[in-house]
Symmetry: C2
Subunit: 195 residues, 2 copies
């Protein structure tokens, strides 16, 4: 009876910790190729574990998807921070857009499911705050038309996700052209009815 009395939580066993990661990796892989309706069974199989093990770690499929969505946000946030770190506003923006396209290409089969799970959550606010800053910087640098807001860039992100999803098989790079065109529009500014 030496270490156990550690307040409330005791460190989990090493294998348990390892499995945590294994499960999430397997889930990502399987969701990526089968979409969000992939069965828990198939995820367990891919992970080389029994279904029960997944349930020990995650309350259910829902929770598993949530966990992945959280990582998703994390990565997006990191990319935004990265873009913001670029001293050149134009390059930073481009870099971010590039990331969005590539990122969604992998996850195209279940990107929608992830986004639903994240929208309007306080975590995504953290990203939006950065996107907002990224946008403002670009506007000030004259890369985007005055009046362009974070919302506009957010819409572009949503659009890229969709275009990637629709064209990933036949024309893996079609989204680049799309993004380039839209950015040109943002540079030109929306004529009359501005917000």
């Amino acid at each position: 009876m030496s270490p156990p009395a550690s307040g409330t939580t005791r460190r989990p066993r090493r294998d348990a910790l390892r499995n945590d990661a294994i499960i999430i990796d397997a889930a990502r892989a399987v969701f990526a190729e089968q979409g969000p309706q992939a069965s828990m069974e198939s995820i367990a199989a891919r992970a080389g574990l029994g279904v029960g093990t997944i349930y020990r770690r995650f309350a259910g499929k829902e929770d598993l998807l949530d966990a992945i969505a959280r990582l998703f946000v994390e990565e997006m946030d990191a990319a935004a921070a990265d873009a913001l770190a670029d001293p050149d506003p134009a390059r930073g923006l481009d870099r971010f857009i590039d990331f969005v396209g590539a990122f969604n290409a992998e996850k195209r089969r279940y990107a929608a499911a992830l986004t639903e799970r994240v929208t309007s959550e306080e975590v995504s606010r953290r990203i939006m705050e950065k996107v907002e800053r990224l946008t403002r910087r670009a506007v000030e640098a004259g890369v985007l038309a005055p009046g362009t807001t974070g919302r506009d860039v957010e819409a572009l992100i949503v659009a890229i996700r969709a275009v990637v999803g629709a064209t990933a098989e036949s024309e893996p790079d079609a989204w680049r052209r799309f993004a380039r065109i839209h950015l040109a529009g943002l540079r030109a500014g929306a004529p009359e009815t501005d917000r």
Copy 2:
């Protein structure tokens, strides 16, 4: 024994014909509010019929969705024809874009399911052919930059669908601004890396 011997098919009973329409209407309504996973049971209930009746008309849920997708194509095609009928290329294009936005706003919950079922089918080719023409006309009129193709407009359609889906609740008109911006980009033309 007077009329029955009509070659192969005899005219269906009046109520059967009526139900055909009732079922599709009900299905559209239910899918619109619950998405494509709505149960056959709920569709039957909405139609005021038993599930069996639906199965008499449609081979299964899949087939029902297909039938709706076919109508979907029909309507899109009609809208494209309509746009093409406008003597002013710019106005025609705008009109079509407007239609796409409004159309997908209703169906946002199951638009994705419908499109999957249509993509690359010979029917959708009919639409693309018109979109192509619509685009060419606009390019010739100087409304869109030279080099703009039907593909570009197709991508815009996909994008609008997504933006509508993402913002329909909070900002029902956000897609208009998005479309306007993108069209500005198409007018300006994508700089270097063109197709």
